[in-house]
Amino acid sequence: MNENIYTITELTRLLKAYIEKAPAFNGVWVSGEISNVTYHSSGHIYLTLKDENAVLSSVFFKYANRNLTFRLEEGMSVFAQGNLTVFEKRGSYQFIISQLKLEGIGELQKQIEQLKKKLLEEGIFDPARKRPLPFLPKRIGIVTSPTGAAVRDIIKVAKRRYPDIEILIAPAKVQGADAGISIVNAIEELNRPEWNIDIIIAGRGGGSFEDLMAFNEEAVVRAFFNSRVPIISAVGHQVDHPLSDDSADVCAPTPSAAAEIAIPVKDELIDYLFNLRGRSYTALLSRIRELNFHVDGFTRQRVFRNPLEIVSNRNLLLDDTEKRLIFAMRDIINTGRNNVLVLPDLVRMMHNVIKDKTHGYLVAVNSLEKLSPLSVMKRGFAIAADSGRNIVRSIRDIERGEDINVFLSDGSLECTVNSKTGEQFHGKEKN
């Protein structure tokens, strides 16, 4: 027997030291296919790499795999860099992976570039063909995974902006081999007229380049282009946007942003409509007053002191259509009756119009009073008219020395103009 007898441990350690120190194995890159992968609860990933003739048992420790942007699956072809070591207790060698890349990622990018060029020449990305989104969609179609973050984000935004909006989700796989066909299918389904969709939002939350691959597939990019319903590409991304962004009518950087773009804020629209209506009334009222300004004693009429009294005393039919009132009012004006009769009708009409049944939007009673000319004058405003009873709007309407009437809430003053001061002169006009 030779005196060089090693224990198993000694031999294994020698081997371990040899392998770990060998320059050829230091930071070596290998290419292979993942054949067996286990995500351990500790965060480490255990996997076997293989090719036709050999296997390499490997471990991807938590500290090294935390930057991995995709999930390792069996059958994936990868490049892995790492160091070899010996696992003493099992008498096996092991590959400690420091980084891992999908094989063919460069190839994929090249393919995308080629597809992009081809579709560009075809006019698929032509900005001129992009359609504007309908301003007020009633029904939104969503193409995404019903369990992903995207659908939740869109629903949250929709509920906030337009609680009544209708949402129809067409479930689709958004990653994996059959994601592309699944997305195409869902987009086509939502395009069927029976679903009555006004805008489609198709996308998913952010992910790695590989995760977003489906939105670079030719069939998917074309499905966005071919969508009869205006469509938003809503794929979360930081750097490279997917090709679907270019073929959609509108693209958004995230699903939430897509919902913000697609869905208006209902309350703002309602406020704006009331604002326009209010401005129209006010403008019409002042126009009528201007054109029929027979001021003599009008402020003494009881109806102007309290327009609401008229409304309640006469127990007016508030359900009358505005149209009838307006026509009645027009008749009154056309037949040249005293304008004193016009104003109560206006008050009545305003009351009707403002009382909006569909919304239960009731303007407070005092807003009616605010519109009464008397209450405006009671706050200290006066109306000046020239000797021809025309309202004086500008200092240019009146010459120095001319007589004017100034109407206050309780009567009128006859005045003579002594001098004129224009705002733009910040002082007295010299003439």
Binding site: V151, R277, D356
Partner: protein, 98 residues
């Protein structure tokens, strides 16, 4: 075959735009009385139309499901208020339309 052009239906957007124009016109105060009233009347009609449009949607969330017979139907689902998460045991969230 050439399609006959039908009169486009009034959209919310167009109605709102017309209402804005009418309001501007009225505020400019350049119209006669009859015209002002006619415009005003038109404006009220447009505003009503817009309000009506705003109330058309029926507040529901649905998901398409493929039945055993292969037919695709929309199914209304409940959604958690806070998270926006679909919360419905009767819905197959793993199913696609394939």
């Amino acid at each position: 075959m050439e399609k006959k052009k039908t009169k486009p239906t009034l959209t919310f957007e167009h109605a709102l735009k017309q209402l804005e124009e009418i309001t501007d016109n009225l505020e400019r105060g350049a119209l006669g009385l009859d015209e002002s009233i006619a415009e005003f009347e038109k404006g009220i009609k447009l505003a009503r139309f817009c309000h009506g449009k705003l109330e058309e949607a029926e507040k529901k969330i649905e998901i398409l499901q493929k039945g055993d017979d292969g037919k695709i139907a929309a199914k209304e689902v409940k959604v958690k208020n806070e998270s926006g998460e679909i919360d419905d045991d009767d819905v197959d969230l793993q199913g696609t339309l394939l």
